[in-house]
């Protein structure tokens, strides 16, 4: 394609949008509605996922060692555990640190009681690892590994919490997948209806172009430009709306449910829109592209 032809097609595509204002407006509206819904769904799902991740981070496995184990041995075990794929981080608490923590918790009001244990740490064998996982669903394999490891006396973990969380995360995944599929199906249906109207307008035009001797790509190019531009506008409009709505909703929720928000944090609008902006623009351009391709494909056979 010559450069002048490329610019001609680009210009024609943009002119087409103005020539068929009503049709363009309907298409932009349809795509905008679609992307608005997908955007809302994404915000909800991303926040859910974020909350689950946060909760998962608080789940940990605690490991106690055999009595009289040497510090070298403990260090060796730490090294081994850290290399496991399930592990995100391992924090070591020595017996002395454990006792300090215990004192703070239980003898805060009468430190003299704790003085009696001064030289005889009652938690002498209570040095431990607190292991955080990358993913709660991996807990089982890690526990099996830990139990088989030499030098480890006891592994404390909550199977119920972990499996409940895994199930919950799975459920959220399935539900959101279903909703997004339904939304996309609705979107495609709406677009195909809009496109049907477009066909009636364009049929004659495409036929004339072909009879004059236009190649398929020459006929198609302006339509593709038109579709993509409409798709991008259709994506940009709801993005502005969503940006505003999201901030307001988060602010509102944080104000209304302060007791919950101390435990739950929402994703910032930056985090949300860093993903949502390209996602929406790609979906918008994609819908526009597919829509215009479908519109003209049938009529190119002249």
């Amino acid at each position: 394609m010559k450069i002048s032809t490329f610019f001609y097609c680009l210009k024609q595509g943009i002119k087409n949008i103005r020539r068929n204002k009503l049709f363009s407006l309907a298409s932009v509206g349809t795509i905008a509605a679609c992307i608005f819904m997908i955007g809302i769904m994404y915000s909800v799902i991303a926040n859910f996922q974020h909350m689950i991740d946060t909760a998962e981070e608080s789940v940990s496995v605690t490991v106690f060692f055999d009595e009289g184990i040497s510090q070298d041995k403990i260090n060796a075990i730490k090294l081994k555990v850290e290399q496991r794929p399930e592990v995100s981080d391992v924090s070591y608490t020595s017996a002395d640190e454990a006792w300090e923590g215990f004192k703070k918790n239980y003898f805060a009001n009468n430190p003299e009681l704790a003085e009696g244990f001064k030289d005889d740490n009652p938690l002498a064998n209570s040095s431990y690892f607190e292991i955080h996982l990358k993913d709660v669903s991996m807990q089982k394999s890690l526990v099996t590994f830990l139990k088989a490891t030499d030098g480890i006396r006891q592994v404390n973990y909550s199977d119920a919490t972990a499996s409940a969380m895994t199930d919950f995360a799975k459920m959220v995944g399935y539900v959101s997948m279903t909703i997004i599929i339904v939304l996309l199906a609705v979107g495609v249906f709406l677009i195909s209806n809009t496109v049907m109207i477009g066909i009636a307008v364009r049929k004659e035009e495409i036929k004339i172009m072909k009879l004059i001797g236009a190649t398929d790509y020459f006929v198609r190019a302006p339509f593709i430009v038109e579709g993509i531009v409409i798709g991008l506008i259709g994506a940009a409009v709801p993005l502005f709306g969503l940006y505003f709505v999201y901030q307001e909703v988060v602010k509102y929720l944080a104000g209304q449910f302060q007791s919950i928000t101390s435990k739950i944090t929402f994703l910032s609008s930056h985090q949300i829109f860093a993903v949502m902006t390209p996602m929406a623009l790609i979906i918008g351009a994609g819908i526009g592209l597919v829509g215009s391709m479908i519109t003209i494909r049938k009529h190119l056979k002249v």
């Binding site: 020539r19 009879l211 004059i212 001797g213 236009a214 002249v302």
Partner: protein
Amino acid sequence: MIELENVSKSYSTGAPAIKKIDLKVEKGEFVFIVGNSGSGKSTLIKLLLKELEPTEGIIKINGRVLNTIKRKRIPELRRDMGVVFQDFRLLKDRNVYENIAFAQRVIETPTKVIKKRVPAMLSLVGLSEKYRSFPKELSGGEQQRVALARALVNNPAILLADEPTGNLDPKNSWEIMRLLEEINKRGTTVLVVTHNREIVDAMNKRVITMNKGVVISDEKKGGYLYED
């Protein structure tokens, strides 16, 4: 220039539209194809444009055998032919200038050339003043002249006109015919499908008469033979 050998075209429903036609049009000829509706005239034009495929027979245009042209090569074939239709078929959303320029854009003519060529065509058809008008602002005769300018802007070897005066009053019809004759004098082969008896009789050109899909007469300097 145009050659049909034993060409037939039948649609899936009903009788064949064209039956075993043999036809030869030489370079630079001016030919009328006449006949009443249903005689197969329009089917003939569609076959020449490769809008339709013949059921049997061979069609040759300008040395190309249409039967074997691949779909991708059809545009090249059509660029050798200018076409004018009864219903003008202008692009409604573009002005006169853009309608004519479109035929040049299609073959990727540089804009510089387009800017010279389109005004030349406009003055040939006498519409220089109206280059910014849209089709709906023009009379039927003016629209057909735009269509003619579009058909000629690329200097085609052949001009096909399918009932070019079908929607026009006698004055405009004669205007179009005068232009077609002028174009023919400049060397373009012109093929006009019509049932305008008055014009055919007056112009004294080659007349091919069709009836029910068959050529019933071919006169070098003829008149409108067929009786309705």
